[in-house]
Symmetry: C2
């Protein structure tokens, strides 16, 4: 049927992949929301905490980009995280307009705990064998090079 190594689009198999993928997405989101809610975090708050814990001190603007949302949203998200003592707004030395977001030790610890729970909560993968998980990871690495992964912050194309 298909002698080429590269598969055609729109085949029955592609549709089945899409169907499974959408079902998986729904379950992942539901599990994620339940897990972070147990820590009294909204999904955007949990994602922000994770981003900051991984990316280190960054301006509000970069967090907005990392969360793929408008800059006006992060104000409220960071407000809540700051009220709980998980992150801090600090003045940036180079530009007095920007506020540098720093994760506190408390926030760091919570980020680790929350996201290990999220990973555990994805019980889905418990059913996969060691080899299957390795295979899945290899495929995901290849899938993650499409558009949408980058951050279109600058206007000169320098990423």
């Amino acid at each position: 049927m298909n002698t080429d190594a590269r598969a055609e689009v729109g085949s029955e198999r592609t549709e089945e992949i899409i169907e499974h993928l959408f079902a998986l997405v729904d379950r992942l989101r539901a599990a994620f929301e339940t897990t972070v809610a147990a820590f009294d975090l909204s999904p955007p708050q949990a994602k922000a905490l994770r981003y900051l814990a991984h990316a280190g001190p960054v301006p509000m603007r970069e967090l907005a980009c990392g969360l793929h949302c408008d800059a006006s949203n992060v104000t409220g998200i960071v407000d809540r995280l700051e009220q709980r003592g998980l992150v801090e707004r600090r003045a940036a030395p180079t530009d007095r307009r920007v506020k540098s977001l720093v994760v506190t030790p408390t926030g760091e610890a919570l980020a680790v705990e929350v996201w290990s729970r999220v990973a555990d909560g994805a019980l889905t993968f418990v059913g996969l064998t060691d080899d299957e998980q390795t295979t899945l990871l290899m495929l995901l690495r290849r899938l993650d090079h499409g558009p949408g992964a980058a951050c279109w912050l600058s206007r000169d194309g320098s990423v």
Copy 2:
């Protein structure tokens, strides 16, 4: 490291899988919204149209279950689809309370077109070879047997 065929939870690899999976989910949702918007459909409308095209005539209640949302939502979703002549509300013969949802020929054709575009729009998979797609599908089939796939409609446990 891990001699058991079943992998432990919370490992570094599990976290990397989660990370890739979340990034993939974001890109899938963005591509999906863009694609269906080109047909002047909201994501819930597109999902409802697909469900009805696949499941045949069903009551509003079952559609709500299929969409994993409250029954009060489907009223507006079906309103819009009916205004465009894509689906019809018909009286059910057995119970005058229920309304049977039927997809019109126009709706059927649109459902096919929209969802083949959605599959195409997931350009992500174009980069996967034929063998890789087959492998992915096998994994997805295994992943799709977790909770959340069922419909908890009845009260006597009869599905």
